[in-house]
Structures are given as C-alpha cells and as structure tokens.
C-alpha cells in the first residue's frame, strides 16, 4: 500500500480503533497509546494483505492485540468513559436529550459489567458496524463462531437491562 493511500486508510479506520481501544482499556490515555502503537505498526510493517479482508478489520486486529498487551502490562480493570459533550452537540430538545442520556448511561453501565469478550464483540458489531467476516478477522476466530458469540453477548446485555428495568420502582 502506498504511503498516501495508507494515510487515508488510517484516517478512516482510526476513530473505530480508538472506540475499540477505549472500550478495552477504559482510559483515554491508554487508548491513545494503543492507537499510536498500531499506527506506528501500520507505517512500519507490510503485513496487511488485501486478500485477507478490509484494511479496517486488519487495523482493528492490530489495535486489539496492542490493547491486550497493554492490559496485561498494566493489569488495570477497565472503566467505561463517557464524553458528555457528544450529548450537548446532539440535535434534539432538552427532554429528549435527558431521556437519551439516561438510557445511554444505563446501557453503558450494563455493557461495562459484561466480560471483556462480550463487550468487545458488541462494540465491533453494534457500534462499529463490522460484518461477521470482519469480526472473525479482528478476533481471530472462525467465522462460524461469530454469530453464536454475538448472540450470547446480546442476550447477556438484554438480560441485564431487563433486570434493571424490573428493579425500577
């Protein structure tokens, strides 16, 4: 891949890489470190092979591996961060914003309570909109296992959200 092409591809894949890293590491600083390492790797290595899938999936796999290394090194429990400013920028009336805010923090809290394996597959599919083939590439698992793993993760989150709803007065 030529350098200009690589820069463009990285520019497009970086926000997804950051979102995944943030979910896996739980801190902006660590996520930026992981992303930086992945970018250096993308510049320095030629291991991306277009025959094996999209650049985005390859890059996310690199980011994920770096995150797992960092997590092992730092042995820190992830905590999900929220950027309040993204709500403020949303185009909606205050009441809708408040309701969305509440729902989003509920989903985020319950998502954070899931095991990392379930959390990451949900982010890859629901938030980053990757296909099953791309998810299989990022997680280095056979394509056939993606649907069942994703379904377990969705069911687990649905159970948690249902329990929270039941607990409400």
């Amino acid at each position: 891949m030529e350098r200009a092409q690589l820069r463009l591809a990285l520019e497009q894949a970086a926000p997804s890489g950051y979102a995944l890293a943030l979910q896996l590491l739980g801190s902006r600083e660590d996520a930026a470190d992981a992303l930086q390492d992945a970018v250096v790797r993308a510049f320095g290595s030629d291991s991306y092979d277009p025959a094996q899938g999209t650049f985005k999936a390859w890059f996310l796999a690199v980011v994920r591996n770096r995150c797992l290394d960092l997590r092992r090194q730092r042995q820190r429990r992830p905590q999900v961060e929220f950027d309040e400013t993204t709500f403020a920028a949303a185009d909606a009336d205050p009441e809708t914003l408040l309701a969305r805010d509440e729902q989003a923090s509920l989903v985020a809290t319950e998502l954070a309570g899931l095991p990392a394996e379930q959390r990451e597959i949900l982010i890859l599919r629901e938030y980053l909109d990757l296909s099953y083939a791309e998810i299989a590439r990022v997680l280095s698992v056979p394509a056939g296992t993606v649907m069942s793993r994703l379904h377990r993760a969705r069911s687990a989150l649905a159970d948690r959200l249902r329990r929270r709803d039941d607990d409400r007065p």
């Binding site: 250096v40 993204t86 989003a104 989903v107 998502l111 379904h151």
Partner: protein
Amino acid sequence: MTDRSDCDEIDELLSGHIDGELTQGARQRVEIHVDGCARCAARLDELKAVRAGVGALPIAQLDRETWRKMMNDASARTTRGIGWLLLIGGGIAVLGFAIYEFLLAETDTPLLKWGLIAFYVGLGVLLLAVIRQRMLARKTDRYKDVEI
C-alpha cells in the same frame, strides 16, 4: 401455537437475522416462526433494542489535534527507525571489516597489537555497562514522564 424446541432453535438465528447474515432459507424460517410466535417476536424486538442502544452510545471521540500529532509522530518514528537501522548496520559492517583487517595484519610488535585489542574490548565493556545501568534506571525512574 409453536413448539418450545422450535423457539430454542430459532433463538440464535435471531441475531443473524437482525444482522442480515443468514442464508435465504434460514431467513425465511425465522420470519415464518416469528410471525406465529409472540414470544420470539418480543425477543427479536429486545435484541434489536440492544443493537440500537449500544450503537447509540456516546463513546468519546479522538480529537483532530491528537490524531494529527499521532500521525506525525508515527511517521517520524518510522523514519527514525529506518535511519537507526541503516546507521547500526553500516557501523557493524565497517567495524567488522576493521577488526578482521586488524587481526590478520602482520606486525612486528604483537604486544602493542594485543594491548590495543584489550584496550578496545575494555572500552566496549565499560560502554555496555553504562548503557545497561542507564536502561535499568530509566525503567525504575518514577519521574521520567514529568515534563519540566
């Protein structure tokens, strides 16, 4: 009325159905089942709500300035890496050749020759010891990230 075991079989396919990842046959099977089963229809809605909920999460974004710095730094690090590689490679080649020539050279003063060898080996050992010490200190320096 639908059979409970049908529901269990269909359940996992619901995710594939939401994501449009089923074969035509499996998709039709799910659609026919869900049309006649209120429980599975509710379950499908619940899973769709999970997808929408996670998809709408306000995850913090990477700001432009950080990204710009990251790209420049990555580019500089890669260029520096190539530079160091060439420098070290060239240095090793020249040094190797010089040592080879030095060892093979005929001399009338072998004492001076072996004295010089000992001198340079000693210098090398001292240099390595200092580098090792500096690296160990760097690892344990609590203030290394403090900017002055």
